[in-house]
Amino acid sequence: MFGKSTLVVSLSAALIATAGFAASHSSKSSNAAVVARHAQMQMIGYHTGLLGAIAKGEAEYDAGTVKAAAANLNALAKMNGATLWIEGTAQGQVDGSRAKAEIWSDPAGFAGKFAALEKASMDMMNAGDAAAVGAGMAGIGGACKGCHETYRGPKN
């Protein structure tokens, strides 16, 4: 009798421990995905900032910088989101996330927003002077805003 109940207790304990591990494991990977997404956004912001400074006249126009910044934006827009926008990482589900549930309920619409950035950054690659960079910023700004308008929640 004693042996049986000990077995039940230790089995239960093992089950609870496993469940606990699973939960902490999944929250760890969710957090990591959110951190990685923020890194992607920071990279986008950094390169947009380089272009924005040229558009505003705060930095000299330099064809190499424009091309490199636009190419990196293009690569960032093309990242495969399957590892980043994983289920269960919406605002309210993971600390620091401002991702709206619409990202998962409307995946085609969400993908379209990254496609808009892909196109806008492609257009930017051949901007020949500061004025052309300025014109191209409208497209990049529009892509950022278009996505944030629909798929990003307010500050927590």
């Binding site: 409208a138 805003k145 278009g146 944030h148 308008e149 307010p154 927590n156």
Partner: protein
């Protein structure tokens, strides 16, 4: 004893009568705008500054569809859910059959052509500052937009907020006709005041509200909980917002913050509207924000 009842009764009748009088919808001059002529092109800018599209276009509308002011967007609040009405020029369900004075009374007094108070989800407390010429131009512009026959959705508001007459009391308490920022400022700041406190109705979201939904004017633009969802609306006084005037103008034009984050949510809509204005107007709003009292 009977005399006291008589007096009390008379007082009650007088009081109720006085209350009824006080809450009566404001009339408007039946000849409003008769001496002015409408310029639809100028009205397009009033329309953009007023942000009409952001609430009255169909939810999720993009591009050309945004010109169709069919309404339908829901505003969830503590008082119930309001739905933006159809304000397209349809003669039956929209504003196609409205007169200019009727339109003006709606926009700057918050009273429908049939004499009912509108709910203040419609920012008439801000629009009341609109110059007559801007009202006339706006009316001219809105008649050029496409008509749509979809009827407006009824508001979902329970007792006692469904008694429209009580909104007369709300207006008495909270619809102040003076500006918050004093007139003692440069013309650019005053132009910004007209735009920000009037047409662009920034305070409707950026100023905290009291329990009855009135704006807390002593915390003007100091932000607060988002009345219709998660998160907080930011404080945009100098107490919190340290952007330069050129940062602000750039934000109103492209939606980019100084560190190249971008506007999202409702503010992305606002930027889309402000970007249509002349640069001088965006600069005026920036100058106004620098002049508003700083609240920590």
């Amino acid at each position: 004893m009977r005399g006291i009842f008589k007096i009390a009764g008379a007082c009650a009748v007088l009081g109720a009568g006085f209350g009824w009088f006080l809450t009566a919808p404001d009339p408007i001059d039946p000849n409003f705008g008769a001496a002015l002529s409408g310029d639809a092109e100028a009205g397009a800018l009033v329309f953009a500054a007023g942000g009409c599209v952001s609430c009255h276009a169909a939810p999720g509308a993009e591009g050309e569809e945004k010109q169709v002011l069919v309404g339908g967007l829901a505003f969830v609040s503590d008082f119930g859910t309001f739905y933006a009405p159809n304000i397209s020029p349809d003669p039956n369900v929209g504003i196609g059959a409205w007169s200019l004075p009727g339109f003006a009374r709606a926009v700057i007094r918050g009273v429908s052509p049939s004499g009912q108070h509108y709910y203040p989800a419609f920012p008439y407390a801000a629009y009341q500052h609109m110059h007559d010429q801007d009202v006339v131009n706006l009316f001219a512009y809105m008649q050029t937009l496409p008509a749509d026959p979809t009827p407006s959705k009824a508001h979902d508001v329970g007792f006692p907020f469904n008694i429209r007459r009580s909104l007369g009391g709300w207006k008495l308490l909270f619809m102040k006709d003076e500006f918050v920022l004093s007139a003692d400022h440069a013309p650019e700041v005053l132009r910004g005041r007209y735009l920000a406190e009037g047409l662009a109705h920034c305070a409707e979201c950026h100023t905290p509200r009291n329990a009855l939904g009135g704006l807390n004017r002593s915390n003007w633009l100091a932000g607060g909980p988002n009345p219709s969802g998660k998160g907080r609306i930011p404080n945009i006084t100098q107490g919190k917002l340290d952007w330069s005037e050129s940062d602000l103008v750039a934000y109103f034009t492209t939606g980019f913050t100084p560190d190249y984050d971008s506007a999202g949510g409702e503010m992305a809509e606002v930027v889309g509207n402000l970007a249509q204005l002349p640069e001088s107007d965006r600069a005026a709003i920036a100058a106004y924000l620098k002049a508003v009292p700083a609240i920590p």
